[in-house]
Amino acid sequence: MLRVEGLNVSYGPVQVLFDVSIEVGDGEIVALLGTNGAGKTTVLRAVSGVIPVSSGTITFNDVDITGASPRKIVQSGLIQLPGGRGVFPGMSVRENLEIGAHSLGRDHARRRRAIDAVLDEFPDLRDRLDQQAGTMSGGQQQMLSLAKSMVVEPKLLLIDELSLGLAPKIVEQLLETLRRYVERGVSVVVIEQHVDLALSIAERAYFMERGSIRFDGPSAELHGRDDLLRAVFLTSTGGR
C-alpha cells in the first residue's frame, strides 16, 4: 500500500533523514520506533507532503506521491494524525469534524453523512458537539483527533504519538477503536514512545536512530533487541 524508498530529507543545510525505506501492506499495523530526534515525525511529515523531500520516492497504492501537495495526498486516502496538537482547540467538536470533512468538497449533505457515520463510531463525541475542543481532556481531544481523521475514510492512517500523556484506560479505548478500523482494512503506521504498547499492536516494526532505519522486521524480533531498545528507555526516562 505504502512504499517509501531511499528517502532523504534536509532542514536547510542539515540532513535529517538518510536513505529511509519503509513498506506498509494492506490492513497492516506498523510501528515506527526510535530515540528522541531520530527522525520518526519527519518521515511522517514527508510522506504527508508537508515538508519537501530531497530525494527518494514515496508510492501510495502504486501512485507516485513524492512531492504531491498535502491536499492531493489526503484526497488519495492517506491521512496523518498530527502529534499532540491534532485538534483545533479554539473550535467546537462539530467544527473540528467539519474541518476533517473539508476534502469531501462543497456538498454539505455528503459532509454531514460522513460526520454522522464517524459519530456512530465515537458516540461520546455526539454529546459534546458544541463543546470547545480546547476545554476537553487530553484523552477526549485525542479521540476527537482520531475521529476527525476518520471522517474521510482513509486507507492509511499515520499516527504521530497515540498514547502521549494519556491514562492507560483511555489508551485502551483508543486502541479498541483503532482495531475496529484495521479489521475493515485500514492500514496504520504508528509512532509510539511506549515501546511495549507499540510492539503489542503492530505486527512489524521499524527502529530509527539518527535519521536512519536501524531495524526492520517482526515486532517480536525487535522485542529481543535490547541493544536498540535500551536507547529508547534511556532517553524517555532520563532525557527530559
Binding site: 511529515r45 504527508s48 507532503g49 508537508v50 501537495s69 498535502p70 491536499r71 489526503v74 484526497q75 491521512i79 496523518q80 494524525l81 498530527p82 499532540g84 496538537r85 491534532g86 485538534v87 483545533f88 482547540p89 479554539g90 473550535m91 467544527e95 467539519e98 474541518i99 476533517g100 473539508h102 476534502s103 462543497r106 454539505h108 459532509r111 480546547g134 476527525k148 474521510v152
Partner: protein, 309 residues
C-alpha cells in the same frame, strides 16, 4: 448642549472606529494566516484609492463603479504581495518579514505617487457617498460618517458569520490556528492565506475609500494629493486595535477598534495639552499593549507555538 456635543463627537468617533475596524480585521486575518505583521497594509489600500481618484477624474466612470474597481485593485495588490513576496519567507523569520513589509509598503506608496504624478496640486474628486449632514437623535454628523458606521457594521455582520459557519471560513480559521494541522486535513493552506490577503487588502481599500468624502467635504469637493499620504497614520490606531487581541483575536480587535476610535475623538473634548496630543496617546497605548503581550490572553502556549512554526 454639552450632552449633544458629546453625542456628536461620539458618533464621529464611531465612524472612525468603523474605519479602524476594517483595517484591523485585515491586519489580524493576514497575521494569523501568514505571520506577516503587515506594515504595508495602508499602502496597499492607498493603491485602490488612487485608482478611484484616477477613474473618477474624467467623469467617465461612475463613482460607485470606480470605488469597486479600486477595491478590487487593492485586493489584487495584496494577492500579488503574498504570492510573489511574503509566501517565500518563513514565518519564523520575524525581522525579515517586518523589513520586507516595510519595503512592500514603500513600493505601493511609490506606485501610488507615480500614478498621481500627472495630477499636480489639487484634484477634484467626486465622492461616491452622498454629501450633507444627518440628524441622529439631535446629534448632527456628516451623512458619509453615518454610512461609514453602517458599512463597518454590515462588514462585520457578513464577515463574522461567514468565518464561523461557511466551509471556506472554517478552513481559513483552521489555517489561522494551525497551518500544518489544517494541511493534514487536506486544506490548501497557501490558497487560504491568499484569500486572507485578498479580503484584508480589499477591506483596507474600503476603509480608506470611505474617508474620501470626509476629506473632500472639508475641502469642498477638492482633494489634495497631500491628503492621501497621511491616510497612513490610520495604521497606528488600527495596529493598536489589532494588538488589543494580540493580533490574533478578531472580536478583541473589533472591541479595540471601538475603543481607539471613540477615545481618540472624545479626547477632543479634553483640556488642550491632552486634546492636542491625541495621536501620541495611540502610540503609548500600543507600547503598553505590546508590553502586556496580549496574545497570551487569547491563545495557549501550544497554539502560539503552532502559529509561529
Amino acid at each position: 448642549m454639552t450632552g449633544t456635543l458629546a453625542a456628536q463627537v461620539a458618533l464621529i468617533g464611531l465612524a472612525k472606529s468603523g474605519v479602524i475596524a476594517m483595517l484591523a480585521v485585515g491586519i489580524v486575518l493576514i497575521y494569523r494566516t501568514t505571520g506577516v505583521v503587515n506594515l504595508a497594509h495602508w499602502a496597499i489600500g492607498l493603491v485602490g484609492v488612487v485608482v478611484y481618484v484616477l477613474l473618477t477624474g474624467g467623469d467617465v466612470v461612475p463613482p460607485l463603479l470606480a470605488a469597486a474597481v479600486g477595491l478590487a485593485v487593492s485586493a489584487l495588490a495584496g494577492l500579488v504581495a503574498q504570492r510573489l513576496v511574503f509566501s517565500r519567507i518563513h514565518r519564523s523569520q520575524v525581522v525579515t518579514m517586518i523589513l520586507v513589509a516595510l519595503g512592500v509598503g514603500s513600493f505601493f506608496a511609490a506606485v501610488s505617487q507615480m500614478l498621481l504624478r500627472g495630477q499636480r496640486g489639487e484634484i477634484i474628486v467626486t465622492p461616491f457617498l452622498p454629501g450633507g449632514t444627518v440628524d441622529v437623535a439631535g446629534a448632527v454628523i456628516l451623512t458619509s460618517e453615518l454610512i461609514t458606521i453602517l458599512v463597518a457594521m454590515a462588514t462585520c455582520a457578513v464577515l463574522l458569520p461567514w468565518l464561523k459557519r461557511s466551509r471556506s471560513g472554517r478552513a481559513l480559521r483552521a489555517v489561522a490556528q494551525n497551518r500544518e494541522a489544517a494541511q493534514l486535513a487536506g486544506i490548501d493552506a497557501a490558497r487560504y492565506a491568499e484569500l486572507a490577503w485578498v479580503i484584508g487588502s480589499g477591506l483596507a481599500a474600503l476603509a480608506l475609500l470611505l474617508l474620501i468624502p470626509h476629506s473632500a467635504g472639508e475641502q469642498g469637493g477638492v482633494l489634495s494629493v497631500v491628503h492621501l499620504v497621511p491616510l497612513g497614520s490610520l495604521l497606528i490606531p488600527a495596529f493598536g486595535a489589532a494588538l488589543v487581541g494580540g493580533l490574533i483575536s478578531l472580536p478583541a480587535a473589533l472591541a479595540g477598534s471601538l475603543i481607539f476610535g471613540l477615545v481618540q475623538e472624545l479626547l477632543i473634548l479634553a483640556p488642550p495639552p491632552i486634546a492636542d496630543e491625541r495621536e501620541v496617546l495611540a502610540f503609548v497605548a500600543i507600547t503598553v499593549l505590546l508590553l502586556l503581550r496580549t496574545e497570551r490572553f487569547f491563545a495557549s502556549n501550544a497554539e502560539l507555538e503552532a502559529l509561529r512554526s
